[in-house]
Symmetry: C2
Subunit: 253 residues, 2 copies
Protein backbone atom coordinates (compact mmCIF):
# COMPACT_ATOMS: atom_id res chain seq x y z
CA UNK A 1 0.00 0.00 0.00
CA UNK A 2 1.53 3.25 -1.11
CA UNK A 3 0.83 5.75 1.61
CA UNK A 4 2.45 8.55 -0.35
CA UNK A 5 -0.23 8.69 -2.98
CA UNK A 6 -3.05 8.33 -0.50
CA UNK A 7 -2.06 11.02 1.90
CA UNK A 8 -0.49 13.35 -0.59
CA UNK A 9 2.93 12.73 0.87
CA UNK A 10 4.97 15.26 -1.05
CA UNK A 11 7.58 17.48 0.46
CA UNK A 12 5.66 20.69 0.06
CA UNK A 13 3.30 19.82 2.90
CA UNK A 14 4.52 19.38 6.43
CA UNK A 15 3.67 16.34 8.48
CA UNK A 16 1.84 18.61 10.88
CA UNK A 17 -0.56 19.84 8.24
CA UNK A 18 -1.04 16.34 6.94
CA UNK A 19 -1.80 15.11 10.44
CA UNK A 20 -4.18 17.98 11.01
CA UNK A 21 -6.14 17.30 7.85
CA UNK A 22 -6.24 13.57 8.46
CA UNK A 23 -7.27 13.99 12.07
CA UNK A 24 -10.00 16.47 11.22
CA UNK A 25 -11.30 14.01 8.69
CA UNK A 26 -11.35 11.21 11.25
CA UNK A 27 -13.23 13.40 13.71
CA UNK A 28 -15.75 14.67 11.20
CA UNK A 29 -16.42 11.23 9.78
CA UNK A 30 -17.10 10.00 13.27
CA UNK A 31 -14.33 7.43 13.23
CA UNK A 32 -13.22 8.65 16.62
CA UNK A 33 -16.06 8.23 19.05
CA UNK A 34 -17.30 11.60 20.26
CA UNK A 35 -16.39 12.24 23.88
CA UNK A 36 -13.59 9.70 23.86
CA UNK A 37 -9.95 10.48 24.39
CA UNK A 38 -7.77 10.77 21.31
CA UNK A 39 -4.66 8.77 22.05
CA UNK A 40 -1.53 10.21 20.54
CA UNK A 41 0.14 6.86 20.06
CA UNK A 42 -2.88 5.41 18.33
CA UNK A 43 -2.89 8.38 15.99
CA UNK A 44 0.81 7.87 15.37
CA UNK A 45 0.00 4.37 14.16
CA UNK A 46 -3.04 5.42 12.24
CA UNK A 47 -1.60 8.48 10.52
CA UNK A 48 1.93 7.24 9.99
CA UNK A 49 3.66 10.29 11.44
CA UNK A 50 5.50 10.69 14.71
CA UNK A 51 4.14 12.06 17.94
CA UNK A 52 5.35 15.60 17.43
CA UNK A 53 3.21 16.49 14.42
CA UNK A 54 0.30 14.58 15.96
CA UNK A 55 0.55 16.74 19.06
CA UNK A 56 0.70 19.89 16.99
CA UNK A 57 -2.39 18.81 15.08
CA UNK A 58 -4.20 18.04 18.32
CA UNK A 59 -3.47 21.49 19.71
CA UNK A 60 -4.64 23.17 16.52
CA UNK A 61 -7.83 21.13 16.35
CA UNK A 62 -8.56 22.07 19.93
CA UNK A 63 -8.22 25.74 19.04
CA UNK A 64 -10.44 25.03 16.08
CA UNK A 65 -13.07 23.76 18.46
CA UNK A 66 -13.27 20.16 17.30
CA UNK A 67 -11.38 18.78 20.29
CA UNK A 68 -11.52 19.53 23.97
CA UNK A 69 -8.62 19.55 26.40
CA UNK A 70 -8.88 16.94 29.12
CA UNK A 71 -7.95 18.47 32.49
CA UNK A 72 -5.56 15.66 33.28
CA UNK A 73 -3.92 16.01 29.91
CA UNK A 74 -4.60 15.09 26.33
CA UNK A 75 -7.66 15.76 24.22
CA UNK A 76 -11.06 14.26 23.58
CA UNK A 77 -13.46 14.55 20.67
CA UNK A 78 -15.89 17.34 21.43
CA UNK A 79 -19.61 16.82 21.35
CA UNK A 80 -22.16 19.50 20.61
CA UNK A 81 -25.68 19.89 21.90
CA UNK A 82 -28.42 21.13 19.61
CA UNK A 83 -28.34 24.35 21.58
CA UNK A 84 -24.67 24.85 20.82
CA UNK A 85 -25.22 24.32 17.12
CA UNK A 86 -28.00 26.87 17.11
CA UNK A 87 -25.79 29.31 18.94
CA UNK A 88 -22.91 28.79 16.56
CA UNK A 89 -25.19 29.62 13.65
CA UNK A 90 -26.49 32.67 15.48
CA UNK A 91 -22.93 33.84 16.08
CA UNK A 92 -22.12 33.39 12.42
CA UNK A 93 -25.19 35.41 11.46
CA UNK A 94 -24.22 38.15 13.85
CA UNK A 95 -20.67 38.39 12.56
CA UNK A 96 -21.74 38.20 8.93
CA UNK A 97 -24.19 40.96 9.77
CA UNK A 98 -21.35 43.04 11.12
CA UNK A 99 -19.35 42.32 7.98
CA UNK A 100 -22.22 43.46 5.78
CA UNK A 101 -22.71 46.63 7.83
CA UNK A 102 -19.03 47.51 7.70
CA UNK A 103 -18.98 46.86 3.96
CA UNK A 104 -21.97 49.16 3.52
CA UNK A 105 -20.70 51.92 5.77
CA UNK A 106 -17.19 51.93 4.37
CA UNK A 107 -18.17 51.29 0.83
CA UNK A 108 -17.07 48.25 -1.11
CA UNK A 109 -14.62 48.33 -3.98
CA UNK A 110 -15.92 48.20 -7.51
CA UNK A 111 -14.26 44.85 -8.17
CA UNK A 112 -15.73 43.31 -5.02
CA UNK A 113 -19.19 44.50 -6.01
CA UNK A 114 -18.75 43.10 -9.50
CA UNK A 115 -17.48 39.77 -8.23
CA UNK A 116 -20.42 39.51 -5.85
CA UNK A 117 -22.87 40.36 -8.61
CA UNK A 118 -21.27 37.81 -10.93
CA UNK A 119 -21.52 35.20 -8.23
CA UNK A 120 -25.21 35.91 -7.75
CA UNK A 121 -25.75 35.74 -11.49
CA UNK A 122 -24.18 32.31 -11.46
CA UNK A 123 -26.47 31.17 -8.68
CA UNK A 124 -29.47 32.53 -10.56
CA UNK A 125 -28.28 30.56 -13.55
CA UNK A 126 -28.02 27.35 -11.53
CA UNK A 127 -31.54 27.77 -10.27
CA UNK A 128 -32.99 28.72 -13.64
CA UNK A 129 -31.31 26.07 -15.74
CA UNK A 130 -32.81 23.00 -14.17
CA UNK A 131 -35.34 23.89 -11.48
CA UNK A 132 -36.48 20.33 -11.07
CA UNK A 133 -33.05 18.99 -10.30
CA UNK A 134 -30.78 21.73 -9.05
CA UNK A 135 -27.05 21.13 -9.04
CA UNK A 136 -26.67 21.42 -5.29
CA UNK A 137 -22.92 20.91 -5.30
CA UNK A 138 -22.48 23.92 -7.52
CA UNK A 139 -24.98 25.90 -5.50
CA UNK A 140 -23.06 25.13 -2.31
CA UNK A 141 -19.81 26.18 -3.91
CA UNK A 142 -21.19 29.45 -5.24
CA UNK A 143 -22.95 30.16 -1.98
CA UNK A 144 -19.73 29.75 -0.06
CA UNK A 145 -17.98 32.00 -2.54
CA UNK A 146 -20.57 34.74 -2.12
CA UNK A 147 -20.26 34.63 1.64
CA UNK A 148 -16.50 34.87 1.35
CA UNK A 149 -16.71 37.84 -0.99
CA UNK A 150 -18.99 39.51 1.51
CA UNK A 151 -16.53 38.96 4.32
CA UNK A 152 -13.81 40.34 2.11
CA UNK A 153 -15.85 43.48 1.47
CA UNK A 154 -15.77 44.28 5.17
CA UNK A 155 -12.01 44.57 4.77
CA UNK A 156 -11.28 43.50 8.31
CA UNK A 157 -8.67 40.90 9.10
CA UNK A 158 -9.86 40.58 12.67
CA UNK A 159 -13.43 39.94 11.60
CA UNK A 160 -12.34 37.48 8.95
CA UNK A 161 -10.39 35.58 11.58
CA UNK A 162 -13.34 35.37 13.91
CA UNK A 163 -15.59 34.12 11.14
CA UNK A 164 -13.00 31.55 10.17
CA UNK A 165 -13.24 30.19 13.67
CA UNK A 166 -17.01 29.98 13.62
CA UNK A 167 -17.00 28.29 10.25
CA UNK A 168 -14.45 25.78 11.49
CA UNK A 169 -17.41 24.08 13.10
CA UNK A 170 -18.52 22.34 9.95
CA UNK A 171 -22.21 22.37 10.74
CA UNK A 172 -22.15 26.13 11.32
CA UNK A 173 -20.68 27.21 8.00
CA UNK A 174 -22.90 28.98 5.48
CA UNK A 175 -23.42 26.01 3.21
CA UNK A 176 -23.39 23.22 5.73
CA UNK A 177 -27.12 22.81 6.03
CA UNK A 178 -28.07 23.49 2.44
CA UNK A 179 -28.00 19.82 1.38
CA UNK A 180 -30.58 19.04 4.03
CA UNK A 181 -33.14 20.70 1.83
CA UNK A 182 -32.46 18.33 -0.99
CA UNK A 183 -35.12 15.97 0.27
CA UNK A 184 -37.62 18.70 0.86
CA UNK A 185 -40.37 19.70 -1.57
CA UNK A 186 -39.84 23.25 -0.36
CA UNK A 187 -36.23 23.28 -1.48
CA UNK A 188 -36.66 25.56 -4.44
CA UNK A 189 -38.78 27.89 -2.37
CA UNK A 190 -36.21 28.17 0.39
CA UNK A 191 -33.33 28.56 -2.03
CA UNK A 192 -35.21 31.36 -3.74
CA UNK A 193 -35.68 33.15 -0.45
CA UNK A 194 -32.01 32.73 0.39
CA UNK A 195 -30.95 34.00 -3.00
CA UNK A 196 -33.27 36.97 -2.68
CA UNK A 197 -31.54 37.82 0.57
CA UNK A 198 -28.23 37.62 -1.26
CA UNK A 199 -29.48 40.13 -3.82
CA UNK A 200 -30.95 42.38 -1.16
CA UNK A 201 -27.84 42.50 0.98
CA UNK A 202 -25.70 43.33 -2.01
CA UNK A 203 -28.09 46.12 -2.95
CA UNK A 204 -28.02 47.44 0.60
CA UNK A 205 -24.25 47.47 0.58
CA UNK A 206 -24.17 49.32 -2.73
CA UNK A 207 -26.54 51.92 -1.33
CA UNK A 208 -24.59 52.24 1.90
CA UNK A 209 -27.56 51.05 3.93
CA UNK A 210 -25.62 49.54 6.81
CA UNK A 211 -28.44 48.71 9.19
CA UNK A 212 -30.41 46.99 6.47
CA UNK A 213 -27.43 44.99 5.24
CA UNK A 214 -26.78 43.82 8.77
CA UNK A 215 -30.37 42.82 9.44
CA UNK A 216 -30.57 40.85 6.21
CA UNK A 217 -27.46 38.80 6.94
CA UNK A 218 -28.69 38.00 10.41
CA UNK A 219 -31.98 36.77 9.09
CA UNK A 220 -30.19 34.97 6.29
CA UNK A 221 -28.34 32.80 8.79
CA UNK A 222 -31.62 31.82 10.36
CA UNK A 223 -32.49 29.83 7.28
CA UNK A 224 -29.83 27.49 8.57
CA UNK A 225 -31.75 27.32 11.84
CA UNK A 226 -34.77 26.09 9.96
CA UNK A 227 -32.77 23.53 8.05
CA UNK A 228 -31.18 22.34 11.25
CA UNK A 229 -34.61 21.91 12.80
CA UNK A 230 -35.57 19.75 9.85
CA UNK A 231 -32.41 17.68 10.05
CA UNK A 232 -32.88 17.09 13.76
CA UNK A 233 -36.23 15.49 13.16
CA UNK A 234 -35.01 13.23 10.41
CA UNK A 235 -31.99 11.02 10.73
CA UNK A 236 -31.61 10.60 7.00
CA UNK A 237 -31.45 14.34 6.51
CA UNK A 238 -28.98 14.58 9.33
CA UNK A 239 -26.58 12.30 7.53
CA UNK A 240 -26.16 14.97 4.87
CA UNK A 241 -24.69 17.39 7.41
CA UNK A 242 -20.92 17.35 7.75
CA UNK A 243 -19.77 16.64 11.27
CA UNK A 244 -23.25 15.68 12.34
CA UNK A 245 -21.84 12.75 14.28
CA UNK A 246 -20.57 15.25 16.83
CA UNK A 247 -24.07 16.47 17.59
CA UNK A 248 -25.69 14.60 20.41
CA UNK A 249 -29.36 14.56 19.58
CA UNK A 250 -32.09 15.03 22.07
CA UNK A 251 -34.73 12.37 22.10
CA UNK A 252 -37.61 13.43 19.90
CA UNK A 253 -41.18 12.30 19.67
Amino acid sequence: MIKAAETGNDRSVTQTVRAQLALRDLVLRGELNPGERVSELQMVERLGVSRTPVRMALVRLEEEGLLEAIPSGGFSVKTFSEKEVFEAIEIRGTLEGLAARLAAERGASRTDLRNAADCLDAIDEVMRRNPADIDLLRYVELNARFHNILIGMADSQALARQLERVNALPFASPSALVPVQSRSPEMNYILSVAQDQHHCVLMAIERREGARAEAIMREHARIAHRNLERALTNQRDMELVPGSVLIKRRIRA
Copy 2:
Protein backbone atom coordinates in the same frame (compact mmCIF):
# COMPACT_ATOMS: atom_id res chain seq x y z
CA MET B 1 19.03 33.98 40.96
CA ILE B 2 16.28 31.57 41.86
CA LYS B 3 14.19 31.10 38.74
CA ALA B 4 11.75 28.87 40.56
CA ALA B 5 10.38 31.66 42.70
CA GLU B 6 10.25 34.12 39.85
CA THR B 7 8.42 32.07 37.32
CA GLY B 8 6.29 30.07 39.72
CA ASN B 9 8.16 26.93 38.96
CA ASP B 10 6.10 24.43 40.91
CA ARG B 11 5.01 21.07 39.66
CA SER B 12 1.34 21.93 39.31
CA VAL B 13 2.00 24.04 36.22
CA THR B 14 3.37 22.57 33.02
CA GLN B 15 6.35 24.04 31.26
CA THR B 16 4.09 24.76 28.32
CA VAL B 17 1.80 26.99 30.34
CA ARG B 18 4.73 28.69 31.96
CA ALA B 19 6.28 29.32 28.57
CA GLN B 20 2.99 30.62 27.24
CA LEU B 21 2.55 33.10 30.09
CA ALA B 22 6.14 34.25 29.95
CA LEU B 23 6.08 34.64 26.19
CA ARG B 24 2.83 36.56 26.25
CA ASP B 25 4.36 38.85 28.79
CA LEU B 26 7.42 39.43 26.65
CA VAL B 27 5.26 40.24 23.66
CA LEU B 28 2.93 42.57 25.53
CA ARG B 29 5.75 44.42 27.23
CA GLY B 30 7.31 44.98 23.86
CA GLU B 31 10.52 43.15 24.69
CA LEU B 32 10.21 41.29 21.43
CA ASN B 33 10.25 43.80 18.62
CA PRO B 34 6.92 43.82 16.78
CA GLY B 35 7.20 42.30 13.35
CA GLU B 36 10.37 40.43 14.14
CA ARG B 37 10.76 36.69 14.16
CA VAL B 38 10.55 34.93 17.49
CA SER B 39 13.44 32.50 17.53
CA GLU B 40 12.71 29.28 19.36
CA LEU B 41 16.25 28.78 20.51
CA GLN B 42 16.47 32.30 21.89
CA MET B 43 13.27 31.71 23.80
CA VAL B 44 14.69 28.44 25.09
CA GLU B 45 17.58 30.41 26.56
CA ARG B 46 15.39 33.20 27.81
CA LEU B 47 12.61 31.13 29.36
CA GLY B 48 14.68 28.24 30.62
CA VAL B 49 12.56 25.49 29.10
CA SER B 50 13.25 23.22 26.15
CA ARG B 51 12.10 23.71 22.60
CA THR B 52 9.01 21.54 22.87
CA PRO B 53 7.08 23.69 25.34
CA VAL B 54 8.30 26.81 23.58
CA ARG B 55 6.87 25.53 20.33
CA MET B 56 3.58 24.71 21.97
CA ALA B 57 3.42 28.18 23.46
CA LEU B 58 4.17 29.73 20.08
CA VAL B 59 1.36 27.83 18.41
CA ARG B 60 -1.09 28.82 21.12
CA LEU B 61 -0.09 32.46 21.01
CA GLU B 62 -0.57 32.43 17.29
CA GLU B 63 -4.09 31.13 17.73
CA GLU B 64 -4.55 33.81 20.34
CA GLY B 65 -3.67 36.38 17.74
CA LEU B 66 -0.51 37.81 19.28
CA LEU B 67 1.80 36.05 16.86
CA GLU B 68 1.69 35.51 13.14
CA ALA B 69 2.90 32.47 11.24
CA ILE B 70 5.76 33.16 8.87
CA PRO B 71 5.18 31.40 5.53
CA SER B 72 8.62 29.86 5.52
CA GLY B 73 8.15 28.61 9.08
CA GLY B 74 8.19 29.99 12.58
CA PHE B 75 6.36 32.96 14.01
CA SER B 76 6.73 36.71 14.26
CA VAL B 77 5.29 39.27 16.66
CA LYS B 78 2.10 40.62 15.18
CA THR B 79 1.53 44.30 14.69
CA PHE B 80 -1.84 46.00 14.65
CA SER B 81 -2.98 49.06 12.79
CA GLU B 82 -5.31 51.55 14.40
CA LYS B 83 -8.00 50.27 12.10
CA GLU B 84 -7.59 46.74 13.39
CA VAL B 85 -7.84 47.87 16.99
CA PHE B 86 -11.03 49.73 16.23
CA GLU B 87 -12.43 46.68 14.52
CA ALA B 88 -11.52 44.40 17.38
CA ILE B 89 -13.42 46.67 19.76
CA GLU B 90 -16.35 46.75 17.38
CA ILE B 91 -16.38 42.95 17.24
CA ARG B 92 -16.32 42.76 21.00
CA GLY B 93 -19.25 45.17 21.22
CA THR B 94 -21.17 43.13 18.68
CA LEU B 95 -20.60 39.86 20.50
CA GLU B 96 -21.32 41.36 23.90
CA GLY B 97 -24.47 42.75 22.35
CA LEU B 98 -25.41 39.26 21.22
CA ALA B 99 -24.71 37.98 24.72
CA ALA B 100 -26.95 40.62 26.26
CA ARG B 101 -29.72 39.87 23.81
CA LEU B 102 -29.54 36.12 24.43
CA ALA B 103 -29.54 36.73 28.18
CA ALA B 104 -32.62 38.93 27.84
CA GLU B 105 -34.49 36.60 25.52
CA ARG B 106 -33.75 33.45 27.45
CA GLY B 107 -33.99 35.03 30.87
CA ALA B 108 -31.13 35.12 33.28
CA SER B 109 -30.97 33.13 36.50
CA ARG B 110 -31.79 34.83 39.75
CA THR B 111 -28.26 34.35 41.06
CA ASP B 112 -26.71 35.84 37.93
CA LEU B 113 -28.98 38.85 38.19
CA ARG B 114 -28.11 39.29 41.84
CA ASN B 115 -24.37 38.96 41.20
CA ALA B 116 -24.60 41.52 38.43
CA ALA B 117 -26.54 43.92 40.64
CA ASP B 118 -24.06 43.46 43.48
CA CYS B 119 -21.22 44.16 41.08
CA LEU B 120 -22.85 47.38 39.93
CA ASP B 121 -23.47 48.40 43.54
CA ALA B 122 -19.77 47.95 44.18
CA ILE B 123 -18.88 50.13 41.20
CA ASP B 124 -21.33 52.78 42.39
CA GLU B 125 -19.62 52.63 45.75
CA VAL B 126 -16.19 53.10 44.19
CA MET B 127 -17.37 56.16 42.32
CA ARG B 128 -19.22 57.65 45.27
CA ARG B 129 -16.58 57.12 47.92
CA ASN B 130 -13.85 59.28 46.50
CA PRO B 131 -14.99 61.06 43.35
CA ALA B 132 -11.89 63.20 43.22
CA ASP B 133 -9.51 60.27 43.17
CA ILE B 134 -11.26 57.13 41.98
CA ASP B 135 -9.62 53.78 42.67
CA LEU B 136 -9.19 52.87 39.02
CA LEU B 137 -7.64 49.49 39.71
CA ARG B 138 -10.72 48.42 41.60
CA TYR B 139 -12.96 49.93 38.97
CA VAL B 140 -11.19 47.97 36.25
CA GLU B 141 -11.51 44.77 38.23
CA LEU B 142 -15.21 45.24 38.91
CA ASN B 143 -15.86 46.29 35.35
CA ALA B 144 -14.23 43.12 34.05
CA ARG B 145 -16.28 41.10 36.50
CA PHE B 146 -19.52 42.67 35.33
CA HIS B 147 -18.72 41.95 31.72
CA ASN B 148 -17.93 38.35 32.59
CA ILE B 149 -21.17 37.93 34.49
CA LEU B 150 -22.99 39.27 31.47
CA ILE B 151 -21.31 36.78 29.18
CA GLY B 152 -22.22 34.05 31.63
CA MET B 153 -25.86 35.09 31.54
CA ALA B 154 -26.00 34.34 27.85
CA ASP B 155 -25.27 30.74 28.81
CA SER B 156 -23.48 29.94 25.59
CA GLN B 157 -20.15 28.17 25.57
CA ALA B 158 -19.61 28.96 21.92
CA LEU B 159 -20.18 32.65 22.45
CA ALA B 160 -17.98 32.70 25.54
CA ARG B 161 -15.21 31.10 23.50
CA GLN B 162 -15.46 33.69 20.76
CA LEU B 163 -15.37 36.52 23.25
CA GLU B 164 -12.37 34.98 24.93
CA ARG B 165 -10.59 35.19 21.62
CA VAL B 166 -11.46 38.82 21.08
CA ASN B 167 -10.41 39.75 24.59
CA ALA B 168 -7.13 37.93 24.08
CA LEU B 169 -6.08 41.04 22.23
CA PRO B 170 -5.26 43.01 25.34
CA PHE B 171 -6.22 46.39 23.97
CA ALA B 172 -9.65 45.13 22.95
CA SER B 173 -10.79 43.82 26.31
CA PRO B 174 -13.50 45.69 28.20
CA SER B 175 -11.22 47.35 30.70
CA ALA B 176 -8.15 47.87 28.57
CA LEU B 177 -8.78 51.48 27.70
CA VAL B 178 -10.28 52.61 30.97
CA PRO B 179 -6.96 53.79 32.45
CA VAL B 180 -6.53 56.14 29.52
CA GLN B 181 -9.17 58.33 31.06
CA SER B 182 -7.20 58.76 34.23
CA ARG B 183 -5.52 61.84 32.83
CA SER B 184 -8.70 63.29 31.49
CA PRO B 185 -10.81 65.88 33.30
CA GLU B 186 -13.82 64.15 31.78
CA MET B 187 -13.01 60.87 33.46
CA ASN B 188 -15.77 60.95 36.02
CA TYR B 189 -18.23 62.00 33.38
CA ILE B 190 -17.34 59.15 31.07
CA LEU B 191 -17.27 56.60 33.86
CA SER B 192 -20.74 57.75 34.89
CA VAL B 193 -22.03 57.24 31.40
CA ALA B 194 -20.46 53.78 31.22
CA GLN B 195 -21.90 52.81 34.58
CA ASP B 196 -25.32 54.06 33.52
CA GLN B 197 -25.09 51.78 30.52
CA HIS B 198 -24.27 48.92 32.87
CA HIS B 199 -27.41 49.65 34.88
CA CYS B 200 -29.51 50.03 31.76
CA VAL B 201 -28.40 46.80 30.16
CA LEU B 202 -29.06 44.88 33.35
CA MET B 203 -32.53 46.41 33.53
CA ALA B 204 -33.17 45.52 29.92
CA ILE B 205 -32.14 41.94 30.55
CA GLU B 206 -34.41 41.70 33.58
CA ARG B 207 -37.30 42.99 31.52
CA ARG B 208 -36.52 40.66 28.63
CA GLU B 209 -35.91 43.57 26.30
CA GLY B 210 -33.47 41.86 23.96
CA ALA B 211 -33.08 44.48 21.29
CA ARG B 212 -32.45 47.21 23.84
CA ALA B 213 -29.95 45.16 25.76
CA GLU B 214 -28.07 44.46 22.56
CA ALA B 215 -28.04 48.08 21.43
CA ILE B 216 -26.75 49.24 24.79
CA MET B 217 -23.82 46.85 24.84
CA ARG B 218 -22.85 47.83 21.34
CA GLU B 219 -22.83 51.48 22.24
CA HIS B 220 -21.07 50.67 25.48
CA ALA B 221 -18.10 49.26 23.61
CA ARG B 222 -17.85 52.48 21.64
CA ILE B 223 -16.71 54.28 24.75
CA ALA B 224 -13.54 52.31 24.20
CA HIS B 225 -13.38 53.78 20.71
CA ARG B 226 -13.38 57.25 22.20
CA ASN B 227 -10.70 56.36 24.71
CA LEU B 228 -8.60 54.83 21.96
CA GLU B 229 -8.91 58.01 19.95
CA ARG B 230 -7.63 59.94 22.93
CA ALA B 231 -4.76 57.55 23.49
CA LEU B 232 -3.73 57.72 19.87
CA THR B 233 -3.28 61.45 20.09
CA ASN B 234 -1.24 61.34 23.24
CA GLN B 235 1.77 59.10 23.68
CA ARG B 236 1.66 59.32 27.46
CA ASP B 237 -1.92 58.09 27.52
CA MET B 238 -0.99 55.32 25.14
CA GLU B 239 1.54 53.98 27.57
CA LEU B 240 -1.29 53.10 29.92
CA VAL B 241 -2.74 50.66 27.42
CA PRO B 242 -1.58 47.05 27.72
CA GLY B 243 -0.04 45.76 24.55
CA SER B 244 0.07 49.21 23.03
CA VAL B 245 3.57 48.51 21.75
CA LEU B 246 1.98 46.24 19.14
CA ILE B 247 -0.02 49.09 17.67
CA LYS B 248 1.76 50.85 14.86
CA ARG B 249 0.64 54.43 15.06
CA ARG B 250 -0.16 56.58 12.13
CA ILE B 251 1.63 59.89 11.96
CA ARG B 252 -0.54 62.55 13.52
CA ALA B 253 -0.56 66.28 13.22
